[in-house]
Symmetry: C2
C-alpha cells in the first residue's frame, strides 16, 4: 500500500446507533490513510494460486453427483416417464421426478416467479426448452448424465412461440392459460406530453432494439447439498446465501434455521445468482432421497437454457427539443419478455427516461409478454443499459438535429438543483455535471471532435467519438446489516459478514475500513465467507449496494472495538480513555506518544482473549435519494468496407461517491465497460424463431463475449467524488452497475459519428453494419 | 417434552449488561415451562443415526493422510534420520522431521508445557515412548504408516526412569537436565497443626495410591488441516476451538485471525482435548509441505502414549478427630508426576483436603516429578477423585474409630454457614448438607446398614454400603462469552456459540434457554458447531463450567431478541410494548390475548429478514464463591473367595444448582459414576517399570474401562437445588465433574464395610482384594 494520506471529507449520512466512543473516536474520515488507496485484493493470492475453495471444489464423503433431465422442446407436456432402464444403470442411487412416488408433485418454485405464473419443481407442463423433468444421483457425473439420458419421457409436443414480437398475435400459442400478456402494461406519465411536443423546435422518433443477453459468469451454477438429520446444508455459488436459504426453505417447507447456505468463494453471477434456482431444490431432494450428499453443477448449456438472461427490449422513443437544447417531451414505449417465467421482461427499462434529465413532460408504457424461452433474471443494471441504448442515442440524434455538441446538450438538461424533477426527493449529491465536464476534459472530447472534423478520419477507415450518460439508484445502501468484528489478543482481526464477495473486491474494501479505524494491517484481517448459519444476516450482493450497505456497519463495529480497546488500555495505563490515541498497533496518551502499550501486550485482552464489536446498519436519511451517476466516452475506428469496428479507447467518469479502493474501483470500471462492449458488439441469444424454437448458440464458442482483443488497451477511470456526506457513514454510493449502463450507447454514438450510420439494434455485428452502410439508411 | 410448569426460583447473580427489556421481560425464572424438563437431545437423531459429521468424517478434495513416526524408547536421542527409502514409497508426498531442510527445528510446542520444560515439535531429545520423531503424508493412511515405519532412525538410547517413586533417587536418570523435581513442592498451611493433633481423641495415618488413568474417549484424537493461501483451517476433535487456535498460532507464529479451528461434533475428551496437541501442528506442517489438505488421526495406541493421562498419586494423610466427630487436624502430602511434560502431576489434588470440611488446622505438601512417560492432561475433575480417594476413606476410618455413622461424621464437619472456613469468601449456596441427608434418605442408608448389621451379609458373599462426598469449583462460570441469537422471519432461530458440545448435551440446554425465553419449540432452534472463524469467542468446554458460563449469555441474547420483537410488534399492533405478551409464537396485548399477531406474520420482520440479539457474559458477583457439592452412596457385594466385587446400586445426590434438563442431568450422573467405577475397579496404565520402560497395556483389550456389565443397573440421581440466586442468571452451577469425584471412595468404603478390608490402592482388582482378604491386613 502507498504511504501518505488521502484528502477526504467526513461522511455521516447514516446513523451509527452505537454510543459515541471515547477519545478520538470516531476519527473523522476527512482524511484517510488506508481508504482510497490502491490496495491489491486481500484474497488475491488464494484466487490466483488456486488455493481458494469454490463450491465446485467441494467434495464430501460418500458424495453422489446429480444430473437434471431437461425438456428438449420449447413447449410440451410430459405424459409419462419410464425410469426402468435408468434405474438399473451402473452407479445410479436415486431418480426423482414429478411422478416419483413419495415426491410431492406440488412443490412450487415460486420464490422469484410472480404469483400469476408459478412453476412446479418438476412441472409436467414444460414451457421452455431446458425445463426440469427429472433428476438422477449417481456415483459419478458421467453415470448421472448417462442415466438421465436413459429416462424415456413421452412428451405431448405443443405449439410454441419464441418470438416476443409475435406473442400477442391472436393466433399465437398460449404459454400460460391466461394468455401471453403479463398483466396490464406499466404506465407512467408526468406533465403535458402533447404540449411538450408542440413547444419543441425539433421532434424525432426512433425505434431501438437490444438483444437478449446471457449472464454467462465464469463459474457455472451449482451446489453441493447435504443433510445432517433434519438440517440441510448447501454449498452454493450464490450472490446471497440468505436469499437461497429463504427460497429453498419456502419450497421445501423447512424452518429457515434448518437450511444453511455456505457461499465460499464466488466466480461471478452478474445477477443470475441473486436468487434460488430449481437446481438447488433438486440437489436437496436428491440428497434426501439417497441419504447421501449430492453435488449438482450445471453445464454451460444448461445455464444458457435455464438460469437467466437479460430480456430483449423493443423500444420506441419520441423526443422533442428546443433549439437551445432544452428537452420538452419524451414519449417512450417498450415491449419485453422474461421468457416463460418470471414475468420481469421490462423491469426498470424506463428508469433513465424518467429521471436522467429534467424533461418536464414524460410518458412511458411498457408491455411484458410470455414466450417459450428460459427465464429472465436481473442482469448487471437491469433495464438500464437498454434504456440508455435508446435515450442516449436519441440525445445524440437531437444534438445533431439542433447542431449542438452532444456533451453540451446533456449539460443543458441535467438537474440544476440536486433534483431530477420538481416534487421528487433531493439527491444527496449529484456528480453528473462533473462526470460530463471532467470526463470530456480528460478524454480530450473537443480536441478529438475537432481532429476528426478536420479530416483525420478519411477513406474507408473512419474515426468517431461518442458519449453517453447514466444513473443508478439504491446508492446509499440500506438496512438490515449486522457485522461482527473480533479483535484477538495478538491484535489480528476476524470480520464476520453475511454478504458475499462475488468477485468485486468486497472483502478487500471491508478490510480497509477496519484497517482505517483500528490501524491494523489488512493482511491481519480475516474475513469469513458468507454463510447463513454462522455469519451475520445480509441481503444479496447485487444492485451495486453491497459496499454502501455493509461498509457503514463494518465501520460501526470497528469503532465499537476501538472504544472497548481504549477503555481497556485506560485502566491499564491509568489515563482517561479520551486522552488515548491508537496508532500502528500502539495505544498511547495523546500528550505522550512514547509511553504507550501495544495491543498484544494488554493484559486484560490476553486474559479475555477477544474484544467483540457489533456494528449495525442504521436507517438512511429520510427524504433524500442516493444515486450514482456516470458519463462514458469512447473513440472508435470503423472499417466501412468490412463493417468491423475497433474500439480504440474508453473513458469512464463515475460519481459513485467515495473511492474506497482505487485499484478495485478502476477494475470495476474496466469490467463494466467490457461487459457493455459485449452488449454493443457481440452478445445475442439466438433462438430458432421460425422453426424448432430451440436455442441456437449453446456454448462459449457460439455465444460471443468480449475477449482481450475486443476491448481497447486504453481504458481510463476518472473518479468523480462530490463529497457526499449524506449517503451513509462511509460516503460510498455503489459502482458495480453504473459502469456498464452508458457503454453500448456511447459506442453506437461513436460509430454514428464515424460513419453517419445509426445502429439501433444490438449487437452491432460487421454484417449488420455493412448492410446499413451499403444502404446508408436508418435501421428500423 | 412434558407439559406443565416446573416450580422454580429467579436467579440473578450475574449482571446482564443489556438494557432492561420492555414489557414482561425478562420473565422471572421463578417458574419455568421448558427448563428443568427431561428434553431429549436436540441433536440426538444425528448422533444416533450416523448423520452427524465428526472431524474424522471429513474428506477434502485432494486430501492426503498423515502418520507420525514415534520414538519406541522411553528415553533416547535421535542421532540421524534416513528418509531415503520412505521417500520413494508408493503414494508418499511429503516427509517432515526436525532434520527436514526448510523445517524450523526450533518450533517449540510450549502452549501447555510449563516454561521450564518446553518441547520442540520434533525434539531430538525424546523423553518418553511415543514422542514425535517424523511425519509422513501419503495418498492413503496405510501408505503413510508404511512409509513412517520405513524411516530409519539412529537413536542413542538413554537410561530411563518410569517409576515416579524412584525419580528423586540420586542415581535416577535425569529426564530434564535440571533434574527430575518440578520446581519446589507446593505447600499450604492454616491453623496450628500440632495443636490440632493434640486436641484430637483419635489420630489415624494412612497412605493412599491411585493409578495413572487414561482418558480413552470413544473418538480418537486427530484433525484435518488445510491451507487456503495464508490461512490454516483445522477440523479438529477438540473441547475448545479457540484453545487449539491459539496453540497452533503460537507454535507456527501465525496471526490468530489466520488460524480457523472448526469443532464439528465431538466424541468425548474428558480433558485430553482441552488444549492443542503436537499432531495438530504436524498436520498443518504436512499440509503446508505438500500443498494438500492432510488428515491426521491417531491410533488408540498413540493416544495412550502421547495425548494425556490422569497422573498417579501417592498420598499420605494423617487426621485427628474428637469423640464428638469434630475434625481437629489434617496433614496431607502427595507425590505425583505429569510424565516428561508438562509438569502438572499434582494439580488440585489437595483441594478437597483444604476445603470440603471445616477443619481448622490443615497442612498439605505436594511434590511433582518428571519421569520418562507420556504427558498428563486434566482429566474429569483433575486432582479431585484422588483427593477424595484419600480424604473420604479417611473419614470412613475415623467414623469407625469413634464409632459414629459415616454420614453423621461428615454432617458434623460441613460448613455451618455458607463458608468452608473463617476468612474464606462465602459460598453463594451450599447444598452439601442436603446432598448427605436427602441422599441418605433416598438411598435408605440407615436401613441398609441395619440390614447388613443384622446378618443379611453372611458367608463368603458379603454386602456393604459406602458413602463419600465432594465439591468442585468454578461453578458460577465466568466471562468472556458472547452469544448471538438470530430470529428468522418464520420464527425459527439460529444460535451462534463458540463453545463445543463435547457430548454432554450443551446444545440441548442452550436450545431450552432460548425456548424458555422466546416460547419457540426447541426443534426450531439450530445451534452452530463451535468454529473459531465464525462462532463467538468461548473458553474450552471443560471444568464443568460450560453451562454456567454460556447459558447466562444465551439468556441475555434471547431476552434482547424478545425486546426487539415486542418493539416491532408494538409498532404494528399500536400497543405499548410493555403491554405485550409473547406466548406460543403469538404476540398479543396483555389484556386481549385473542387479538395477537404471529411472529412470522410481522411485516417488519419479513422485510428485515432477521432480528439479531447479542448476549454477553457479565462479571460474576464479587466476594462470593460458587461451588457444586456432591454425596454418593453405593452398595456392593464382595465374593471373599474370588475377590470379585459387584456394585449393586449407586445413588448420586448432587447440588449443581438449577437442573437445566432433567434427562441430560441424570445422564451426567450415570456417566460420572461409571467413570468413577473405572478408577475404583479396573483402570491402570501399566508401565514396564523394571525393564523396558514401555507401556504395557496399549489397547482397549488391555486397558479396561467399565462396560455395561460392570456398572449397576440401579443408578439413581437425586438433584439437590438450594435455589442459588447468586451463581449467575440461570442458576446452574456445573455438573460434569462433581459426579465422578466421590465415586471411587464410596466403593472402597462399601468394600470395607462388607469385608473389613480397606483397599487404599486403585484399581481394586480381584487379585489385589484376594491378597488383602487373605492377609486381612491394611494395604501400605
Amino acid at each position: 500500500m502507498e504511504e501518505g494520506t488521502v484528502q477526504y471529507y467526513e461522511a455521516k449520512g447514516q446513523a451509527v446507533p452505537e454510543p459515541p466512543p471515547p477519545g478520538d473516536q470516531p476519527r473523522p474520515w476527512s482524511e484517510t490513510t488506508v481508504i482510497g488507496k490502491p490496495l491489491p485484493r486481500v484474497d488475491g493470492y488464494e484466487r490466483v494460486s488456486g488455493a481458494a475453495v469454490y463450491p465446485s471444489d467441494i467434495i464430501l464423503p460418500h458424495m453422489l453427483y446429480g444430473a437434471i433431465l431437461r425438456c428438449p422442446h420449447p413447449h410440451a407436456r410430459v405424459k409419462s416417464l419410464d425410469i426402468g432402464k435408468a434405474r438399473g444403470m451402473p452407479g445410479v442411487h436415486g431418480i426423482i421426478s414429478g411422478f416419483t412416488r413419495g415426491a410431492n408433485p406440488d412443490w412450487v418454485y415460486a420464490s422469484f416467479a410472480k404469483v400469476e405464473a408459478p412453476s412446479k419443481i418438476f412441472d409436467p407442463h414444460c414451457r421452455f426448452e431446458g425445463e426440469s423433468v427429472a433428476a438422477v444421483a449417481a456415483e459419478s457425473p458421467y453415470q448421472a448424465w448417462d442415466a438421465a439420458r436413459a429416462i424415456r419421457v413421452s412428451y405431448e409436443v405443443l405449439p410454441h412461440v419464441v418470438d416476443e414480437l409475435k406473442a400477442l398475435d391472436s393466433r399465437a400459442p398460449r404459454v400460460h392459460d391466461q394468455g401471453n400478456r403479463v398483466g396490464e402494461p406499466q404506465k407512467y406519465e408526468r406533465g403535458d406530453l402533447a404540449g411538450g411536443f408542440s413547444e419543441a423546435d425539433k421532434v424525432l422518433e426512433m425505434t431501438f432494439h437490444t438483444a437478449c443477453e446471457l449472464h454467462t459468469p465464469m463459474e457455472l451454477h451449482g451446489c453441493v447439498a447435504s443433510w445432517e438429520g433434519d438440517r440441510l446444508t448447501l454449498w452454493e455459488s450464490t450472490q446471497g446465501v440468505y436469499s437461497v436459504q429463504s427460497g429453498v426453505a419456502k419450497v421445501l417447507g423447512l424452518p429457515l434455521s434448518k437450511v444453511r447456505v455456505i457461499g465460499s468463494y464466488m466466480g461471478g453471477g452478474f445477477g443470475s445468482k441473486l436468487f434460488v434456482d430449481k437446481y438447488a431444490v433438486i440437489a436437496a431432494l436428491l440428497a434426501r432421497a439417497t441419504a447421501r450428499p449430492v453435488k449438482l453443477f450445471l453445464t454451460r448449456e444448461e445455464t444458457y437454457l435455464a438460469t437467466g438472461n437479460r430480456p430483449p427490449s423493443h423500444m420506441k422513443l419520441k423526443a422533442g427539443v428546443k433549439k437551445d437544447g432544452a428537452l420538452t417531451a419524451l414519449d417512450f414505449s417498450c415491449l419485453g419478455t422474461g421468457g416463460a417465467y418470471p414475468a420481469d421482461g421490462t423491469s426498470l427499462v424506463d428508469w433513465l427516461i424518467r429521471d436522467l434529465y429534467t424533461c418536464p413532460n414524460v410518458r412511458s408504457e411498457m408491455t411484458d409478454v410470455y414466450i417459450n424461452a428460459g427465464p429472465a433474471r436481473p442482469m448487471r443494471a437491469p433495464g438500464h443499459p437498454q434504456g440508455a441504448w435508446a435515450l442516449e442515442q436519441m440525445m445524440d440524434a437531437l444534438a445533431d438535429a439542433i447542431q449542438m455538441d452532444p456533451v453540451e446538450l446533456r449539460l443543458k438538461n441535467i438537474p440544476a438543483a440536486s433534483q431530477a424533477r420538481a416534487g421528487n426527493p433531493l439527491y444527496t449529491s449529484t456528480g453528473l455535471r462533473q462526470c460530463l465536464e471532467e470526463g470530456a476534459r480528460a478524454f480530450g472530447w473537443k480536441e478529438a471532435r475537432e481532429r476528426i472534423r478536420t479530416g483525420e478520419s478519411r477513406g474507408h477507415i473512419r474515426r468517431g467519438v461518442g458519449v453517453a450518460a447514466g444513473l443508478w439508484f439504491v446508492g446509499g445502501g440500506g438496512p438490515p446489516s449486522t457485522i461482527i468484528v473480533k479483535l484477538f489478543a495478538d491484535g489480528s482481526v476476524n470480520l464476520n459478514m453475511g454478504a458475499s464477495d462475488i468477485g468485486t473486491g468486497t472483502k478487500t474494501v471491508m478490510a480497509m475500513v477496519v484497517s482505517e479505524e483500528l490501524g491494523i494491517k489488512p493482511e491481519l484481517i480475516q474475513i469469513e465467507n458468507a454463510d447463513s448459519g454462522t455469519t451475520q444476516y445480509a441481503t444479496p450482493s447485487g444492485g451495486s449496494k453491497t459496499i454502501p450497505t455493509e461498509s457503514p456497519a463494518v465501520r460501526a463495529a470497528a469503532i465499537e472495538v476501538k472504544r472497548q480497546l481504549l477503555e481497556m488500555a485506560s485502566a491499564e495505563l491509568k489515563v482517561e480513555s479520551s486522552q488515548l490515541v491508537l496508532k500502528g498497533g500502539v495505544i498511547s496518551a495523546r500528550n505522550d506518544p512514547s509511553d504507550g502499550v501495544r495491543i498484544h501486550d494488554l493484559k486484560e485482552l490476553g486474559k479475555r482473549g477477544v474484544i467483540v464489536g457489533v456494528g449495525y446498519r442504521g436507517p438512511n436519511l429520510e427524504g433524500k435519494v442516493v444515486n450514482p451517476f456516470a458519463a462514458q466516452f469512447c473513440e472508435v475506428e470503423v472499417n466501412t468496407l468490412t463493417g468491423e469496428t475497433r474500439i480504440l479507447r474508453f473513458l469512464g467518469a463515475h460519481d459513485s461517491g467515495r473511492v474506497m479502493n482505487r485499484l478495485t474501483y478502476d477494475s470495476q470500471v474496466i469490467g463494466g465497460i467490457t461487459m457493455g462492449i459485449g452488449l454493443a458488439m457481440t452478445e445475442e441469444r439466438v433462438m430458432d424463431r421460425g422453426g424448432t424454437g430451440k436455442l441456437v448458440n449453446r456454448s462459449w464458442h457460439d455465444y460471443k463475449i468480449p475477449t482481450s482483443v475486443d476491448v481497447p488497451a486504453e481504458m481510463v477511470s476518472v473518479p468523480i467524488d462530490p463529497g457526499d456526506t449524506e449517503a451513509n457513514t462511509t460516503g460510498a454510493k455503489g459502482l458495480g452497475e453504473p459502469v456498464t449502463i452508458p457503454t453500448a450507447a456511447a459506442v453506437a454514438n461513436a460509430v454514428h459519428h464515424a460513419t453517419g450510420v445509426r445502429v439501433t439494434r444490438t449487437p452491432m455485428s460487421p454484417v449488420r453494419l455493412c448492410a446499413l452502410l451499403a444502404g446508408n439508411r436508418k435501421e428500423g
